[in-house]
Amino acid sequence: MKWLRNNWDQVLVALGEHIVISFTALAIAFALSLVIGILAARSERVFRWAIAVTGFLYTIPTLAFLALLIPVVGLGKTNAIICMVAFSLMIMIRNVAIGIREVPSDVVDAARGMGMRGIEILATIELPLAMPVIVAGLRIATVTVISVAVVAAYINAGGLGTLIFSGISNDFAPKIWVGALTSCALAVAADLSLAQVERWLRHRAD
């Protein structure tokens, strides 16, 4: 289509912004959920509390969440990233905790019997074995985050949503198509690649 041919640079910039904020949010969410998830794996109380809080955050409608953050952090990328992290935490914490819990206890016992300390067991046995489940959670979080980033363009966070909002502003369908379809393609591509990683990890764990 003509618009895309003449403005592919605009699309690439939007795509780049989209990927950067999504990736940043996921990295932060991953780090946070590892810490909280490990604690939740050990303690039922922490697990329930963490899931309750992050589960609540997850139900807040996207635009509402972004809007509520405006008085606190203003507009822009920071706002969007906080929202994206908040939305990803529930699924990631849950999967880290469940992944670790599902590691067969005899494997852990054997390791302890060999004299390994807690941290060593965590790093070299539990986490690696939990990886498939953790990545499964990461996969869902990735799709969520990409979707939030589309809306976040409304509060000036950049990304593919800017094409959509701009297209709606001028009632120009090709721009809307390009923005919408590219974000769909990005979400699907991310989902499929992570599905592959998940499959590979499960294969390795067997």
Binding site: F56, T59, I60, P61, T62, L63, A64, F65, A67, L68, I70, P71, V143, I146, S147, V150, V151, Y154, I155, G161, I164, G167, I168, A173, I176, W177, G179, A180, L181, S183, C184, A187, V188, D191
Partner: protein, 215 residues
């Protein structure tokens, strides 16, 4: 305090708030209803065809990854602005979780149960109605629950394409930097989403056949 000002805004504009709230609930309920009416029968019809079921699940999985705003935006050039296009888009958003859960739930019904029922002389339709569907209900309702939160959340975005609803207060609040008005949109929308989640969670529990309930 902001919450008090938000309340005052509602009191000052009762008609506007009532309109937005009614539209939001109407959009969400209608979209959910339509999606259930389409996805569950399709899931049931495909239950015996393993390949078709897998195809449906794959397609729905792709549909599930699509960003909500993208779906709303794609519908706009085709159907214009207003309630109907928003309803169309929201229904599309609600279909995948319900279809996936219906298909997976029916597939997971214990084959022995089905055989036993057949052995008792039930027809295919009877088996579906009296054995498979009841057993599949909890998982189907889990899908409906997910879809309901998605739809309430998506309806917030529908305001942008003239669909009305609580999102109007959020966009107006952003435009006029009126935080109380923003809250008038954001808080009820959140409460609706949580309410929908709780409601269907409850229904899910109530509809689980007693024999299948976890202690």
């Amino acid at each position: 305090m902001l919450f008090i000002e938000a309340w005052q805004f509602i009191v000052a504009h009762p008609g506007r708030f009532a309109d937005a709230l009614t539209t939001h609930v109407a959009l969400s309920a209608a979209a959910l209803g339509l999606a259930i009416a389409m996805a569950v029968p399709v899931g049931v019809l495909l239950a015996d065809n393993r390949r078709a079921t897998l195809l449906a699940i794959t397609a729905a999985n792709v549909g599930r990854t699509l960003p909500s705003l993208a779906v709303l935006a794609l519908v706009m050039p085709l159907l214009g602005t207003g309630f109907a296009p928003a309803l169309f888009a929201l229904t599309l958003l609600a279909l995948p979780p319900i279809l996936i859960n219906t298909c997976t739930a029916l597939r997971q019904v214990d084959a022995d149960l089905v055989d036993a029922a057949r052995g008792m002389g039930m027809t295919r339709a009877q088996v579906m109605r009296e054995v498979e569907l009841p057993v599949a209900m909890p998982v189907i309702f889990a899908g409906i629950r997910t879809a309901s939160v998605q739809v309430v959340s998506g309806a917030v975005l529908a305001a942008y394409i003239g669909g009305g609803g609580l999102g109007d207060f959020i966009t107006a609040g952003i435009a006029m930097m009126a935080l109380p008005q923003l809250l008038v949109g954001a808080i009820p929308a959140t409460l609706l989403a949580i309410g929908a989640d709780r409601l269907f969670g409850l229904l899910q529990k109530v509809l689980t056949p007693v024999g299948m309930r976890a202690t």
